[in-house]
């Protein structure tokens, strides 16, 4: 069934943005601010800033003190794998795995969010720049293909998005982790200060305050509030203190008068025009009515998430693109990456018993990459590197109290805080391997009858070798930091668990070996831009969202310039 009875005018916009998460929100903001009538298509429901039903609920106001029962968890067996995302306080943010199945040729955790704002409401908010150490790595090492971008190209766009998003942090002058335009950093607590000083002195390694997308100073940012350190970010922030599409980009886009958001709109494919060289629009299934609509625009931004955008392109089959739109290279769906993590060390301290802190800081400390950054730090058994996220604090009532088992003595012990502890967890770069891929599966359909994905992704020897070093170095840092009872851990984890899925439509110089050009355009369909994590040519070891913001803003400005020149 096709419903285009309204006539083309009413379904024609200057630009269409598919998805409303971090990338889609930025595309919407930039395009509408440049005067383009923009339609944002979101597959899930509407969520306006402030529609955060659990934001103010305490444990006793939530079912089972905010725990999912085994019965409730039955429909969320994939989401459950994270161990922290499924709880009554967050349940409304996650689609049922049973509605949206996928096939795991090898184990893969795909953690999705289908609503306006997408995972921008749920992200970890750590915000780091990639540098030339990252952008040059593939070319220098002869791995995969070269990034068609260098740090100097993207640096001004990092400036631009950081100033709007509000990133708190400290400039440190590190080559491997470029400085930025930061709001004041959060404070260290005293164990972190002490470990930082000792580690610098003994190992020469830096520990810095985690850079995160939180407003830490009043003023600007379109009236968003400052962080109240409740650390309940994943419920949605009533103050708008952390960056989300809902709190930041979409309200600004809406304010231009150029924005239309259409929720419950599943984009099934991109449609070509008569020439076959340009896209004329997208086909949409209304998830509520199941009706099929078409919308038209001069430019299309695919920001449907790494796998979401690639799924749409794989499904956009035509005589010209029999293997999916922009897949002349055969690389569409390939080179899946994620960050491997859940490995590190922790320890205790007997010091600072008279010290404490106030508030639940929504970030921790960060140990920037120190392996393979120069000739001196070169490792023989792996390339690239990793960073650690971590932090210190005092133990609370959940600790084991050996000295008192019951009665007033137990109560007295519980009323006091426990020892200081400190721990770090590595986040490692994953290389882009052609064999790590996703593909369309027409045999398994989702609740809307759409073909699903098959995941065929695994960690390989470079990641496995790197992990050994991540574990040993974590212990080394904790010990140098002056901690006692240092213990290491390796929690393993499938690809996908980092929720940093990247690749599948990589950028490159050559249409024969890449899907997108240096401006995030599909080589063979220049008015389609893909600016979510699928464009990543390599993964770096830093959290990727800030990079998606910068590339999206850059691509949007370029698209508008090209449109003005009549090139699109």
């Amino acid at each position: 069934m096709y419903f285009n009875s309204k006539g083309n005018d009413e379904v024609t916009y200057d630009a269409i943005v598919v998805g409303s998460g971090i990338s889609g929100g930025w595309a919407a903001k930039e395009l509408t601010q440049k005067g383009l009538k923009t339609l944002v298509l979101e597959r899930g429901r509407m969520v306006k800033h402030g529609d955060y039903p659990t934001a103010h609920l305490e444990a006793w106001e939530l079912p089972n003190r905010n725990r999912m029962t085994p019965e409730q968890m039955k429909d969320y067996k994939i989401q459950e794998r994270t161990g922290y995302t499924m709880a009554p306080a967050y349940q409304h943010w996650w689609p049922k795995d049973t509605d949206y199945p996928y096939t795991e040729k090898k184990p893969f955790d795909w953690i999705r969010a289908y609503h306006v704002g997408g995972r921008s409401l749920l992200w970890g908010r750590q915000s780091y720049r990639m540098g030339d150490l990252d952008f040059e790595a593939n070319a220098k090492e002869g791995i995969a293909v070269d990034w068609p971008v260098r740090y100097k190209d993207i640096a001004p766009w990092y400036d631009y998005v950081e100033e709007f998003a509000g990133i708190s942090g400290q400039n440190e002058g590190l080559f491997q982790l470029p400085d930025g335009k930061f709001l004041p950093p959060f404070e260290y607590n005293c164990i972190e200060k002490s470990v930082k000083k000792n580690v610098k002195k003994i190992l020469g390694r830096d520990i810095i305050m985690g850079r995160c997308a939180h407003i830490t100073k009043d003023g600007g940012h379109y009236g968003r509030g400052t962080c109240q350190t409740r650390n309940r970010c994943m419920r949605g922030c009533p103050y708008g203190a952390y960056f989300s599409s809902n709190a930041a980009t979409l309200p600004v886009a809406e304010g231009t008068g150029n924005l239309t958001i259409r929720p419950f709109s599943i984009v099934t494919e991109v449609i070509l025009d008569e020439t076959g060289k340009k896209a004329k629009g997208v086909r949409v299934m209304d998830s509520e009515t199941k009706e099929i609509h078409e919308y038209y625009a001069k430019i299309i931004f695919l920001c449907a998430s790494t796998f979401g955008s690639t799924q749409i392109l794989l499904n956009s089959v035509s005589d010209i693109h029999p293997q999916g739109m922009g897949n002349e290279s055969g690389e569409l769906g390939h080179n899946v990456m994620d960050h491997h993590f859940q490995i590190g060390a922790h320890g205790k301290s007997d010091e600072f018993k008279d010290r404490y802190y106030h508030g639940r800081r929504p970030t921790g400390i960060y140990v920037p990459r120190f392996r393979n950054i120069d000739a001196k730090s070169k490792m023989s058994n792996f390339v690239r590197g990793y960073g650690y996220q971590g932090g210190g604090g005092r133990q609370g009532w959940g600790r084991y109290i050996a000295e008192a088992q019951y009665g007033t003595a137990l109560k007295e012990a519980l009323s006091q805080t426990g020892d200081w502890t400190f721990g770090i967890m590595g986040f490692g770069e994953c290389l882009p391997y052609h064999e790590n891929k996703i593909s369309l599966n027409h045999d398994v359909k989702d609740i809307h009858g759409m073909p699903t994905l098959t995941m065929d992704v695994e960690w390989k020897s470079n990641e496995i070798e790197m992990r050994k070093d991540m574990q040993i170095s974590a212990a080394e840092i904790c010990e140098a930091g002056g901690l006692k009872d240092v213990k290491t851990y390796d929690g393993g984890g499938n690809p996908g668990l980092g929720i940093h899925e990247m690749g599948t439509a990589r950028m490159g110089h050559d249409p024969q070996t890449s899907v997108l050009n240096r401006w995030n355009q599909i080589h063979s369909v220049l008015n389609v831009f893909v600016t979510d994590g699928s464009f990543m040519t390599s993964s770096s070891c830093v959290n990727p969202s800030l990079t998606y913001m910068a590339f999206t803003a850059r691509a949007a400005h370029y698209a508008v310039e090209e449109l003005k020149k009549g090139n699109l």
């Binding site: 404070e187 639940r360 009532w397």
Partner: protein
């Protein structure tokens, strides 16, 4: 705040019904045992009465609320009902009998009838037993361990326990301060 209003709005906004147990806990507030409307779902009334006494002996009322005030026994019945499989429920109920067995052996009385001092003797015995206990299957934890942990978590995740002053409850801290004098707070945080 009107408790029924809280219940209504949170239930509606969440888009799903609160469990009957939580409903009872919310409506019941801190008027624990006198609430005649509440009935355990898995444990018997006798077992819950015993459990309430054990919880209270673990976290007794002092100048701050005790486990009974915080309805920890109800929380434990809900926990067993919603999270335990049949086998684990049976293990809990079976080993719960240890408290009465031990009190009968030592004092010829049921646990519930003991003086506070006598209860401590039983708890001392069972907590020592717990220290030597090895749960080989990983499915049969020692009863004292189960009750102690659940009493503590039930206490601090209840409104009465969280706001009762044993620890510091600060829902909206404001700006983070990395290094302050412990004595300026003087106790641990609930959250």
């Amino acid at each position: 705040m009107d408790r029924r209003e809280v219940l209504k709005t949170s239930g509606l906004l969440l888009g799903y019904a609160l469990s009957a147990g939580t409903t009872a806990a919310l409506l019941g507030g801190c008027t624990a045992n006198t609430d005649k409307d509440w009935n355990p779902k898995t444990l018997s009334n006798e077992e819950v009465d015993l459990l309430a006494e054990i919880c209270e002996a673990i976290l007794p009322k002092t100048d701050t609320p005790g486990a009974k005030d915080a309805l920890c026994h109800r929380y434990i019945d809900e926990m067993i009902t919603n999270f335990y499989e049949k086998e684990a429920q049976n293990h809990f109920r079976e080993t719960l009998k240890e408290f009465n067995k031990e009190s009968t052996r030592k004092f010829s009385k049921a646990f519930i009838a003991l003086t506070p001092g006598e209860k401590e003797v039983i708890l001392e015995h069972l907590s020592n037993q717990m220290k030597d206990y090895v749960d080989e299957t990983g499915k049969k934890p020692h009863i004292f361990k189960t009750i102690k942990e659940a009493t503590i978590s039930g206490y601090f995740t209840s409104e009465v326990g969280a706001k009762g002053g044993l620890c510091e409850f600060i829902p909206i801290p404001g700006p983070y301060q990395g290094c302050i004098n412990y004595n300026s707070v003087g106790k641990g945080y609930v959250l």
